[in-house]
Symmetry: C2
């Protein structure tokens, strides 16, 4: 649906549609809002995108977002390298960290298995995960993917692959309410689920 004869505006609306969950109607509303009432916000978004594209990379070891080669946690030699916690996103990693109950390291999948969205094991770096658990003296892999259908499927796939290699695999206990995303769970519940892991 063409909205005007103004090409830069139509280009902006089309560009905004690349944001997940944003259709034509939302993209229009966003473009109008930015150009009409929040030009400063538009500049802020453009600058933040440029800066993030330039600066943000993946940690070579755990794959979370970071500005250097290695993230702060992977650089921290006081962390317990025998334990590796597998999470879906950097936000989930941050939630685990806020509990203060975990001193091991992480592996961030940057997603979860989702055949419908074309996200398979390779997109989540599962081959590298298997390699890393084999090399780095990892004794326990703690699966902290979401307790959703896709998160459980992801945990299951990782669990099967690791168990066949003799790695000790645990899963956060079901103290975490089923159907919820880790990031929104209160810290006490996450801490309990961690200590009750099986």
């Amino acid at each position: 649906m063409a909205t005007s004869d103004v090409h830069p505006l139509d280009d902006l609306i089309q560009a905004l549609r690349r944001l997940p969950g944003v259709g034509i109607k939302s993209a229009q509303r966003m473009a109008y809002q930015l150009l009409q009432r929040d030009r400063e916000g538009a500049q802020q978004i453009a600058r933040a995108l440029d800066t993030a594209l330039e600066a943000v990379q993946h940690c070579e070891q755990c794959h979370t977002f970071t500005v250097g080669r290695l993230c702060a946690i992977c650089q921290d030699e006081s962390r317990d390298t025998a334990r590796l916690c597998v999470v879906e996103t950097p936000a989930d990693l941050a939630a685990m960290e806020r509990t203060g109950a975990y001193q091991g390291r992480y592996y961030v999948l940057m997603g979860r298995l989702s055949p419908l969205d074309g996200i398979g094991p390779r997109d989540l770096g599962l081959p590298e995960l298997l390699e890393r658990t084999a090399q780095d003296g990892v004794q326990e892999v703690i699966l902290a993917t979401s307790f959703t259908a896709e998160g459980e499927a992801t945990a299951h796939a990782i669990s099967e692959a690791l168990k066949s290699r003799g790695v000790h695999v645990t899963r956060l206990a079901r103290g975490v309410p089923v159907g919820s995303e880790l990031e929104y769970v209160d810290l006490g519940t996450i801490a309990h689920a961690l200590s009750d892991r099986r």
Copy 2:
């Protein structure tokens, strides 16, 4: 809520929250999606924002978005200057144009009265609208704002201001949408269609 120790990422998430209807959770999802799976899209959005901020202005006459001083419609001397159609957005203007049923000119409010959002008559350029109808030989102002509470309030405010100046004001008819079956139309619409029968 800090999501990581990566400042450019947090900055991006904060920036994306300036988009209308985007909360912390959506902003995170957007930032991860762009950095993880759609860096090209991120570049496209940043470039489109820069270009639009640079190029897109308001038409001096009707206030719609345009790249020059005047939009194509305001420049078109074959349009009927005696009729002025008041719409909320450039998208509404485009919808009117697609009907092919209107040959007059427009005034684009770029919004509607919304006291809760702090959008008052001055933000919609109502003083300029009154001025324009007084100057340009406008004989009829057609109110084509939305048929929502805010759109109706906007139409009412404009109507009162113009009528007190002796301008002929009309409103798009309310009624049953073409092609729809009566039993599926909401009762309020049917009631209006009945009272507006002609």
